[in-house]
């Protein structure tokens, strides 16, 4: 647990990010993209497909350094970041448990993970190899890996795509359960508005490419009160504020 108030929120200020194709054509993916995520807040980056959401996340994860601008990750506490990628990206030659423990810093390698595995329904799967898991279970293992590291900042890149509706719903609830047990500043990329409305404290709405922030949508309602009626009310007010966005 990091001391409350000591941590600075995620602050992103990307002036421009341009891709150059092999044929010399350059495509601007991001332009004047700036936003903040507050301490302990679960924020969603919502935008149409191909608008540069994943590109933004890759920059924040330090995987892409070819951009102009700057960003600031939370300071203090563990200073670790964790990510749940679009694909589970588990090492196929290591068991579920080894995959989770390998992501931990040396000092935490031996820590007790029973609670986390139980909460995610992976208790009986710790010694299985990723190839023996369904996609839904593999994504749970990826969530376990991210939460086990007790990160200061958690990034999620459409972690529930290509799952059937029920499995995705179940996983969202599991995500909320483990997140609520230890609220971590989190930024999730998604193009699914319902998912964003269900999970997040605040939605950062992006424009089509080149992406910049269209506006913020704050959800004051506690998550446990977001029943179907409340959700459709949220959906209506979202559409009032952002008429063009689906």
């Amino acid at each position: 647990m990091q001391p409350v108030g000591a941590a600075v929120p995620l602050r992103v200020d990307i002036a421009e990010k341009t891709f150059r194709s092999a044929h010399g054509v350059s495509v601007t993916a991001l332009k004047d993209l700036s936003f903040e995520v507050r301490q302990g807040e679960f924020a969603c980056l919502l935008g149409p497909s191909g608008c540069g959401k994943t590109t933004t996340l890759r920059i924040l994860l330090g995987l892409d350094r070819q951009f102009s601008g700057s960003f600031q990750l939370p300071e203090g506490g563990s200073r670790r970041i964790a990510a749940v990628f679009q694909e589970p990206t588990l090492l196929p030659w290591r068991t579920v448990e080894q995959n989770v423990r390998l992501a931990l810093p040396k000092s935490l390698r031996a820590k007790n993970l029973d609670g986390l595995f139980n909460a995610l329904g992976l208790a009986g799967m710790r010694s299985l190899y990723p190839a023996e898991l369904s996609l839904g279970l593999a994504r749970r293992a990826a969530l376990a890996r991210a939460f086990a590291t007790e990160p200061a900042m958690l990034f999620l890149d459409e972690p529930f795509v290509s799952l059937d509706g029920r499995t995705a719903e179940q996983l969202r609830r599991l995500l909320l359960t483990v997140w609520s047990a230890r609220p971590t500043t989190a930024l999730m990329v998604t193009h699914n508005l319902t998912e964003a409305l269900m999970l997040s404290d605040r939605i950062i709405v992006l424009s089509p490419r080149p992406a910049h922030v269209l506006g913020m949508f704050d959800i004051g309602l506690p998550r446990q009160d977001r029943n179907p009626q409340a959700m459709s009310a949220l959906l209506r007010s979202f559409h009032q504020k952002f008429p063009g966005v689906t």
């Binding site: 994860l61 995987l63 990510a83 090492l91 290591r94 390998l102 890996r145």
Partner: protein
């Protein structure tokens, strides 16, 4: 008989290892191998009887020589010397070749520059490298092992370069985000991905290396299977030549069954379980 002897031993080993996962399924292939080798021996024996000649001894004569050489201890001394050189050259070739191959596979510019060098070394005859090594570095063990390794390195480079090109960047990115240490990256991310390529390089490597080691021994060492074969070539003793050859082939077979295959089974255990 050499062949039957090792055949019998391998039969015992394979059934031992795999009896846990269905004995009948592995017993039949092992039986086939034994019968096949016995058939070859029989054919050889018939041919040797049909054309009796000092230059074409039958399996019985070869077996006699083998027993004599084993009893005097010569066989084990020379087998040991050759085996030591094979092991040393193998280790050097795999390590140096893998490092160069991975570097070339992951750096396009370096690959473009050094690719002609690799092709050049691939095509230099083994004999030339051996002769030059002996001329430049003298008739010593380092020159011998180095020459064998240099012959094998380009092959390892080519295989491992393909392996490095096929690396999945998403695993490296995951390792970067979760701040894996350099040692963990090599052990848990890099090597498992390269394992099939490493296995291919090893397989083709051992067979190639031991053949080149014989040439190295023939040209400039005073022990080893290659030296003995050269000696018996001058004496026109074909039985002894065959005895040494078969003994070494048997040793390599045992290494394959007791070392290479179990290691490979362990390395690919995550692949073989059904989903």
């Amino acid at each position: 008989m050499t062949a039957r002897d090792t055949g019998g031993r391998t039969l015992g080993d394979t059934t031992d290892i795999s009896s846990r996962s269905g004995p009948a399924a592995t017993l039949i292939p092992a039986l086939t191998v034994t019968i096949s080798l016995l058939g070859l021996c029989l054919l050889w024996s018939l041919a040797a009887n049909a054309w009796p000649s000092r230059a074409f001894p039958g399996p019985g004569q070869v077996w006699q020589v083998l027993l004599k050489e084993a009893a005097s201890g010569d066989l084990f001394y020379h087998l040991g010397a050759t085996l030591g050189r094979v092991a040393a050259a193998y280790v050097v070739a795999i390590i140096v070749g893998s490092v160069i191959g991975i570097l070339l596979g992951s750096h396009r510019g370096a690959d473009r520059f050094f690719s002609p060098w690799v092709i050049l070394f691939l095509n230099i005859p083994a004999l030339v490298i051996i002769v030059l090594a002996y001329i430049w570095f003298g008739l010593n063990e380092v020159a011998a092992i180095g020459a064998v390794a240099v012959n094998k390195i380009p092959n390892v480079v080519v295989t491992m370069r393909e392996g490095a090109r096929a690396l999945d960047p998403s695993y490296a990115e995951m390792a970067a985000v979760y701040r894996f240490g350099p040692l963990d990256r090599v052990r848990h991310v890099l090597l498992p991905q390269l394992q099939p390529y490493l296995a291919a390089a090893s397989r083709s490597g051992i067979a190639l290396i031991w053949k080149i080691v014989l040439v190295v021994e023939l040209l400039g060492r005073s022990n080893g299977v290659g030296f003995q074969i050269y000696l018996y070539f001058q004496l026109f003793d074909v039985a002894a030549i065959l005895a040494y050859t078969l003994a070494f082939v048997a040793v390599m077979l045992v290494i394959e069954l007791l070392l290479v295959q179990p290691v490979e089974r362990h390395a690919t255990r995550w692949r073989r379980r059904p989903a």
